[in-house]
């Protein structure tokens, strides 16, 4: 598999982009005209730089608004194209993208458009240049790849072929199956982009909201399967116009982009029996093994865990790390951190084969996290999520696992008052990390996205999306605060059988919960016909409540320590949500 990316996906100057693209491991690049025009480096310098970096210039883009015009306009267009062919010779690339005419086409006549494409191709042939014609989703007369294909066939020139772009095809709902019937020698180039399902005009959607594969709602695995079946063997190239990626760190975005292609190639190969470019198969998470909270002084976290009924599982044999356990819920407190403010620093997941999970993560492109290991200690390997959280995998429960590092008490049945399991992890991301986190969670954690919701917080709307394993054993609730708001605190939700009993006991043990306004309970009474006893108990204990057609949800929150807090949740019946309607109350109360 050869990989490529359009320079328009990234921020910075052209040379910065090229360095980042090469460093991320791409084989080639599509150079967008605007990037070259704004560069002080000559085409010869760019050509030489790409050669030194080992990047092929796979395509120059775009030529626009050429075909379907009157003869006089076409003559001017040919003159303009000739100048670009000269430029391409200086750049040392032989393929140019031609977008279907948006602005100047006046004649809806395939004879004329085909003839003009043929004349353009002939002019290009004199320079040894090939033309990849692409139907833009908002083209004036040509807005469907099948129409572009008919014109390419009509013109019938060896150096005229198609560029297929997943966005332009899938955004219009066009069936990509017809790709399979095309002559692979005529498929000159393939541009890939994902996108969220939006009911927005297609031009704005395309210019601002494209995503890397695996981050949106398009079926790119199915799309690429059609392309593969047609026999296309050229590069997989990314062309993603996105307001966020255009302004974030160029090196990070390039690595992020590259990972999306690893994921897509792997999943497409797996779906279609195509053996190339497979990586280690995904390890589906069976549950959360532990969460790690880091900070220079975690005494306040110790106190809360003790009040909740966790059992102290002992200290690590060589590090200032402590373990707390409550049934299957394990919390590791790591005081080796230099940073004072406690934070949710890592997660461990239970899988069938931890080494395979790690191999897959590294093959997809996740960076390995560094961790000091002393002699005689188990070496724990982890990768860093986009926000820096460390992710571990474990396939050995009990004595053979990392728990042995905590001595005898950890592995024994300690007398925890609380019997729980980690229900979900609630993680906050900065506004520019969200899409990358979706890809990480999909490709490396094997979680599937649930629909996006929005929560009204006192600082603005919080975008929220849960991702979960098929059986719900692992759930990650992702939140993004608006750019001007403080970072969203993270929390660990522990599921218990009887949240009211846990709350009563924790209160007796001195835990003060997050207080909830009385108005909330008045509203609860209006929304649900709760009996007075239940309502009174909820009110007394500062418990929150939700209900849907399948069941009910009772939950409460501890105070926040640094950037982390705990939630105790009880799921009744088939309730599958996270109490999203209560989130604004929590956000306001935490403020």
């Amino acid at each position: 598999m050869r990989t490529s990316i359009a320079t328009v996906c990234l921020s910075g100057s052209l040379t910065q982009k090229l360095h980042a693209i090469a460093a991320a491991g791409f084989d080639g690049v599509e150079i967008m005209e605007a990037d070259l025009v704004c560069a002080f480096e000559s085409p010869e310098e760019i050509r030489a730089l790409c050669a030194r970096l080992g990047l092929s210039i796979d395509m120059y883009q775009p030529l626009r608004d050429v075909e379907g015009v009157d003869d006089e306009t076409f003559a001017a267009n040919l003159r303009r194209a000739e100048a670009k062919f000269d430029l391409m010779a200086r750049l040392g690339t032989d393929l140019v993208l031609l977008c279907s005419n948006v602005a100047t086409a006046t004649v809806d006549d395939d004879d004329r458009a085909g003839a003009q494409l043929g004349m353009l191709a002939d002019a290009a042939a004199a320079h040894g240049i090939r033309i990849a014609y692409e139907a833009l989703a908002w083209g004036r007369f040509v807005d469907d790849y099948r129409h572009a294909w008919r014109l390419v066939q009509r013109a019938d020139r060896p150096n005229l072929g198609l560029c297929l772009d997943s966005f332009h095809i899938l955004s219009r709902g066009h069936d990509p199956a017809a790709i399979e019937g095309m002559d692979a020698r005529k498929l000159f180039f393939l541009q890939l982009a994902d996108a969220p399902a939006l009911d927005l005009d297609v031009l704005s959607w395309s210019r601002h909201h494209r995503l890397f594969p695996g981050e949106g709602d398009f079926d790119l695995v199915g799309f690429l399967t059609h392309v593969r079946r047609a026999g296309y063997a050229g590069p997989l190239s990314l062309e993603v116009f996105n307001d966020v990626f255009r302004q974030t760190d160029v090196a990070g975005t390039a690595r992020h982009a590259r990972r999306s292609l690893n994921w897509l190639a792997d999943r497409t190969a797996a779906a279609g029996g195509w053996e190339l470019d497979r990586v280690e198969a995904p390890q589906h998470p069976r549950g959360v093994d532990f969460v790690e909270i880091a900070g220079s002084d975690l005494a306040d976290v110790d106190r809360i865990l003790d009040q909740l009924g966790f059992a102290y599982g002992g200290g690590h044999r060589s590090k200032t790390v402590r373990l707390w356990q409550a049934g299957a819920a394990r919390v590791v407190l790591n005081e080796q951190a230099r940073e004072e403010r406690p934070r949710l620093a890592g997660f461990g997941f239970l899988v069938d084969d931890a080494e395979a999970a790690m191999r897959r993560a590294l093959a997809i492109g996740a960076p390995e996290a560094f961790r000091l290991t002393s002699a005689g200690e188990q070496r724990l390997r982890a990768v860093a999520a986009p926000d820096g959280t460390e992710v571990y995998w474990n396939d050995r429960v009990g004595g053979g696992s990392w728990l042995a590092e905590f001595g005898e008490r950890a592995d024994a049945a300690t007398p925890a008052l609380l019997d729980g399991i980690i229900d979900h992890l609630n993680v906050g991301y900065a506004w520019h990390q969200f899409d990358e986190a979706v890809l990480f969670n999909t490709s490396i954690l094997s979680l599937e996205p649930e629909p996006v919701t929005e929560l009204a917080g006192p600082h603005g709307l919080v975008r929220s999306q849960a991702m979960r394993s098929a059986d719900g054993a692992v759930r990650l609730a992702m939140n993004v605060a608006p750019p001007s708001a403080p970072a969203v605190d993270r929390h660990v939700a522990i599921r218990v059988d009887d949240a009211r009993a846990v709350a009563r006991r924790a209160r007796e043990r001195g835990l003060r919960f997050l207080p909830i306004p009385g108005n909330y309970y008045d509203d609860l009474a209006a929304r649900f016909a709760l009996d007075d006893d239940l309502l009174g108990e909820l009110r007394d204990l500062d418990l929150l409540y939700d209900r849907d057609a399948r069941g009910a949800f009772v939950h409460f929150y501890t105070p926040t320590v640094g950037g982390v807090f705990f939630e105790i949740v009880e799921r009744q019946g088939g309730y599958e949500g996270y109490g999203a309607t209560n989130a604004p109350v929590r956000l306001a109360a935490q403020r």
Copy 2:
């Protein structure tokens, strides 16, 4: 005119919102349920706080998903509504907003819906409560205000009327003229919101992109005229769901909101001969009188102006302020500033009646800028634009004006080498200032918006919108950088007859222009059939070029000093643009 605003427009807690709303001068408030539910203050406390602040609680909102359901569901809905009626009694408000059913309506039957509205109204009547029924643009069966009106007539209860919301009516393209035929006694409430023209699903459009009146594309003057003709005499209330306003400073947004109603009332009154709520008539700007650049050391700006051919017009008689002139282009350098970095700090506009312009600005609600005035000095009054820029007006050109402060030389025909006029001001805004700036420029500077464009910069997309006077004598190009990008520098564009001659002379006088990449000129040659002499001269002088159907544009930029630079522009023929296609080249070169 009574004014009101929905709490959902603003950020912060309910009490913070109420304080800000009162301070901004609103008469009343719509309390959104979610804001009350999240508040620790009881309904009685909120009622008492509003009383102390002098705010009437004009409406509680919303009741949802009540009508058009089966009998069992309706019984549950009535129970829920009764709880809210009790709550409203505690709050001391007698009007509740009822949105047309979105989620639970299953029966598209006006008989049933009308009967259920009637039963709800009867239940409300027992509490002394009135119901304002509103057709949401995405209502399940009722999505048109005329349909809501038919149901209200069918139910025929004295305490059941309509709530009209400009967004729900204008977003669907429904003709608001039918409002005029309605019985004013049945028009219980009026919610106003503007919005940009977007091709987006109406729910997302409504929830995220509403704007205050005067900031979007809706004809709110026409809308309010219909409402006024119907005889509606209740409050004008703002209900604006907007992602930006939800997260910006609550006090500032409340003042901003209040100004939008002053503008709307004034323009509607002016359009319809309605004499209430008029403020001083707008003063249309005839031209730019001067620009002021402030900084603690402006020697580098002096040098650039001298190199461009400006004449030194002398120092101010009592302040460390200097004047430079080139024909009608006047630049004031103010070294009284404490801030070191030079910045574009103020503009003066030429109008027929400066005092009237100032009176209008203050009546709309612009804050007056403070300026020290010494004895014997002319008192110059200014208001502060949303970004802090000071705005002045002048109706006396020559000896009687502020120029007299600069002694004899200023008023005389000084031997400037350059004869120019200020063509446009290019101002950068932070992402959260843009909409407020549009309102300021519309309502106070009497400028009209041109279409929004987007420019690709190395740090992301820059949103750009020009606003101008009808004759083009005053033009403001507004730019907004993405949140993570550095602030956009501002500049002053000076129009001359022969930009090439000015460039040649300035270069001889030692000015180094912003250098332009050679690739730009290759692209220019491809795009336009320019003769070689012109292209060579443009390339030699680092000049930029643009052309449209009406004319051409030649321009160049000086280096940036602090946060400000100058542009020299030449407009050929009827060219009315700003060389937007060249902006990415400039942004990259300035980086």
